[in-house]
């Protein structure tokens, strides 16, 4: 009886896992649609710089490339962390997520440096439609990275306290999906915003 009940519950839990993952995929798609609006705005508005400098004169490709490489590396370390998590290796999981976390912070730092420089030079999001769409598109991505870091930090604390239980591993796997997703969005930003400006 007990054993039967256990399998019944296990079945329920597997179904729940399946649902959560599927649901998170749908969420990612809705998030992608939000980004698509921002991309569309950028595509329509990026030429409207009304006398102020265009992207070609503002952006620094080496900086953008640096950011790209950092974020790609963080995606890789996040992948390694997930392998460790699935194997139940708590220390390795925490270690690799810590690396991912630091890389994420580094990315944010570079992005904010860029923003700060623009603003100090007098190119703010109020200047023209091009800069509005640039700041909002890239800033929204940065905001997503920030919330990803918040999520990562909290989950790491709970992993330290509770160990790698199934609920936390599930959370981590969603988090890694989220992180890779942001990586893909960044690739589009890098291509359309930064490379596009020099095309």
């Amino acid at each position: 009886m007990n054993e039967q009940a256990l399998t019944h519950h296990e079945r329920l839990e597997a179904a729940a896992n399946d649902r959560v993952k599927f649901g998170f995929w749908i969420y990612l798609m809705t998030d992608l649609l939000m980004f698509s609006v921002l991309f569309a705005c950028y595509a329509v508005l990026h030429g409207n710089h009304v006398g102020s400098p265009a992207g070609r004169e503002l952006f620094s490709l080496p900086l953008a490339l640096k950011e790209t490489l950092i974020l790609l590396t963080s995606s890789f370390t996040c992948g390694i962390a997930m392998v460790a998590a699935r194997r139940g290796n708590k220390n390795m999981t925490l270690f690799w997520f810590a690396i991912t976390f630091i890389l994420g912070l580094l990315f944010l730092k570079f992005e904010l440096t860029e923003f700060r420089q623009f603003i100090l030079e007098g190119h703010t999001l109020k200047t023209n439609a091009f800069l509005s769409s640039f700041f909002v598109l890239v800033g929204t991505h940065g905001l997503h990275i920030t919330s990803g870091l918040l999520w990562m930090g909290t989950t790491m604390i709970f992993v330290m306290k509770r160990g790698l239980n199934s609920a936390l591993v599930r959370k981590l796997s969603l988090l890694s999906l989220f992180w890779h997703f942001l990586d893909i969005v960044w690739i589009f930003i890098f291509t359309i915003v930064y490379l596009g400006a020099f095309a």
């Binding site: 179904a15 809705t30 329509v44």
Partner: protein, 706 residues
């Protein structure tokens, strides 16, 4: 310092016009009376534990109905105010209120009313009822105990309530709502042309409830795709579930667009960006496109579940399975798919090239094909059936007549050359109302009349229901057929006054009369509900299947237990329940362990913070916005890492609970048998009953005194 804490808020923002004072007074009074009643009945704890924090989709569904119903009255009042203004708005009638040159409303006030009417009816009435119906019925129809994420469900509901509060907040603080029309088209909604807080209230009420809608849609999709009873393949799914699935698939596709667009609009107003402005390279047409990419499908999001309701009802009341189930599903799929590619027909006149207009015009015309397929499946279902003219069927037939006119008037509008004449005319407004009242609202009324016994355990009064139906039909025709004609005569929409020589006034007066008849119909619907409550023993739903229904929800008791089914049914065909019933092969009692989600107040807290966030941004109290964001994060973390959000109801406990319910059922059945001789109440009986009740109350009071 004062600006830091209160932002733009000062004493000027407090109510000072008749309508804001009136609105504030009504809201405060309603709140006060509710608080007093609950306190006197000592029901606070019960309310909190059994309802507000509940994650049971059935209870959340009922709460959607209640809030949506109140908002229906609120939005209906707006409609009556507009009708009255238009009836009085001819140039030969002097102004009778404050600043009004004609009629009794100033132009500014009239604009706010039609904006609020549109927002409230679409967001806070239609969406609420549709979400309520899906919440209650879909899990029962697919043989599930709950939704995929019970927490997301309560969160979505409370965000909706946050939006409701936000849209009514202007009565108390600010005194003005957006005067921009229900979609707040840019650049009119920008800071330059709308400097007040009205548009900010508009943005945040839609933003908060819109996020709730996205969450709800995601949840329903998950539930329908992942939690169907064993054996219920997609091709055996009931049609209301299909309609809901298509509708929610559209919702997750377009609501993110709304969220993003609203944020951009907010940035334009708050941060001074230039997305939709006239200056610094902004592009207002971007806004028009984006908002209609959401706005057009939104109407279909409301429509498709209603189509599903009609498919259920027509099959049940014709005692036949739906004619060509496949065509019906494909029809709904076609409608939902097409609906995503017609948005540009809302602005044919705004300078797109002929080719673009032709494409969207054609796409719009093509939508008629799947819709017609749906119509033919319904009509074919009735053919040769044994039709029973109960109230749900009446609402369905009313829908067929009115929606057909709505659809055909839509085809006229779909031709760009014709649209150049009819754009922004009352013809368009009438067309829209033929569809959303005739389609969505009638669908909702149809569904509520149909499933009411499932919700409460007793059927709705049919006599008064019929009277309410005829009032609605008559009132609708009286108010919206003249509107079609006025549109063809050249009357533009959003008209608060006009020249008497146009000869429009008689039509506007006719519309007002129609509006009053509709209002009577609405009152009759309330009477219908009260009369049914009074005669609940007489109308008791003893079997849980009062209409001889076909789908799984009728296999449960009315109302079902919190876990819906003691054992999840196994499905073998589209009509499994019907076949089992006819072959007397309904499964006997059996029990198993059930995982039940615990109640949670996290949804309420998050929605409260979301409301404060919006309020903070409306009045530029940045500290409040920051505090709210932190609050939301803290609640999310506490909730997200809580690993004890469920408990297990063992098979033995389920059995005990079922026994208790069976006893209650026995008692109710006796009461029902004793009340069977009663005649169903009519309107006069109801009034006589209420009078008697009042007299008795007074007599008792007197007796106490002496």
């Amino acid at each position: 310092m004062r600006h830091f804490w209160l932002g733009k808020l000062d004493s000027h923002a407090l109510p000072h016009a008749w309508f804001t004072i009136g609105g504030t007074a009504v809201f405060l009074l309603a709140a006060l009376i509710t608080v007093i009643i609950i306190t006197r009945m000592k029901r606070w704890k019960w309310l909190w534990n059994e309802w507000l924090t509940s994650v049971d989709p059935k209870k959340i569904g009922i709460m959607y109905f209640i809030v949506g119903g109140v908002m229906l009255l609120r939005g209906g009042l707006d409609a009556l105010m507009m009708w009255l203004q238009q009836a009085l708005g001819a140039s030969n009638m002097p102004g009778i209120g404050g600043e009004a040159a004609h009629g009794y409303l100033s132009s500014e006030h009239f604009q706010q009313i039609f904006t609020a009417h549109g927002n409230i009816m679409v967001f806070f009435v239609a969406m609420a009822f549709i979400f309520g119906l899906i919440n209650y019925i879909v899990p029962l129809q697919i043989g599930a105990r709950d939704l995929a994420s019970p927490f997301m469900n309560t969160l979505g509901f409370w965000l909706y309530v946050g939006g409701v509060l936000m849209v009514n907040m202007f009565f108390m603080f600010g005194g003005e709502y957006a005067a921009t029309g229900w979609l707040a088209i840019a650049p009119l909604s920008g800071k330059v042309f709308s400097p007040g807080v009205g548009v900010d209230y508009w943005i945040w009420s839609l933003q908060i409830s819109g996020v709730g809608s996205t969450l709800g849609a995601l949840n329903f999709i998950l539930t329908i795709l992942k939690m169907r009873a064993p054996g219920m393949t997609l091709s055996k799914m009931p049609l209301f579930t299909w309609g809901s699935l298509f509708s929610m698939l559209m919702a997750v596709t377009v609501f993110p667009l709304l969220t993003a667009t609203l944020f951009l609009s907010f940035f334009d107003r708050y941060l001074g960006t230039h997305f939709f402005t006239m200056t610094a390279g902004g592009d207002p047409m971007m806004y028009t496109n984006l908002i209609w990419m959401w706005g057009h499908p939104e109407v279909y999001i409301l429509m498709l579940p209603a189509f599903g309701v009609f498919s259920e009802v027509v099959a049940t009341f014709s005692r036949k399975p739906i004619a060509s189930y496949k065509s019906n599903v494909i029809g709904m799929a076609g409608v939902s798919f097409m609906a995503l590619s017609v948005w540009l027909h809302h602005f044919f006149t705004m300078g797109a090239s002929t080719d673009v207009n032709a494409f969207f015009g054609l796409m719009t015309l093509i939508v008629a094909i799947p819709t017609a397929v749906l119509f033919f499946t319904w009509i074919a279902t009735m053919r040769g059936g044994m039709i029973r003219f109960e109230t749900p069927m009446l609402w369905f037939l009313g829908f067929v007549a009115i929606f057909a006119v709505g659809g055909l008037s839509g085809l006229i509008l779909a031709f760009p050359p014709a649209d150049f004449q009819l754009h922004n005319s009352l013809f368009l407004v009438a067309h829209f109302h033929f569809n959303v009242i005739g389609g969505v609202l009638f669908g909702i009324f149809c569904g509520i009349n149909y499933w009411f016994s499932k919700f409460t355990g007793f059927k709705l009064n049919q006599r008064i229901g019929r009277q309410a139906f005829w009032c609605w039909i008559l009132g609708f025709c009286l108010s919206f057929i003249p509107m079609l004609i006025l549109g063809l005569m050249g009357a533009t929409r959003r008209l608060d006054h006009y020249d008497a020589s146009t000869g429009w006034q008689p039509f506007f007066v006719l519309m007002l009369i129609g509006g009053i008849v509709i209002a009577i119909g609405t009152v009759l619907q309330l009477v219908q509900i009260f009369a049914s409550v009074i005669q609940r023993h007489r109308l008791y739903d003893a079997t849980g299947d009062p209409w001889d229904g076909r789908s799984l929800e009728w296999g449960t008791t009315s109302p079902p237990p919190s876990y819906n089914f003691t054992v999840i049914p196994t499905v073998t065909s589209f009509d499994t329940f019907w076949e089992a019933k006819k072959n007397h092969a309904l499964p006997g009692p059996a029990y198993e362990d059930i995982v039940i989600p615990k109640n949670t107040a996290a949804g309420i807290y998050i929605a409260l913070f979301a409301f404060l966030l919006g309020f903070g941004f409306v009045w530029e109290m940045n500290w409040l916005a920051v505090v709210s964001i932190i609050g939301i994060i803290v609640v999310l973390i506490t909730r997200g890492y809580n690993e004890h959000s469920e408990y297990i109801l063992t098979a033995a406990e389920v059995e005990k609970n079922e026994e208790k319910r069976a006893e209650l059922h026995k008692k109710r059945l006796e009461q029902h048998k004793a009340a069977l001789h009663e005649e169903e109440m009519g309107l006069v009986d109801f009034m006589r009953y209420m009078l008697k009740l009042g007299m008795n109350y007074i007599r008792q009071k007197r007796r106490k005194r002496t």
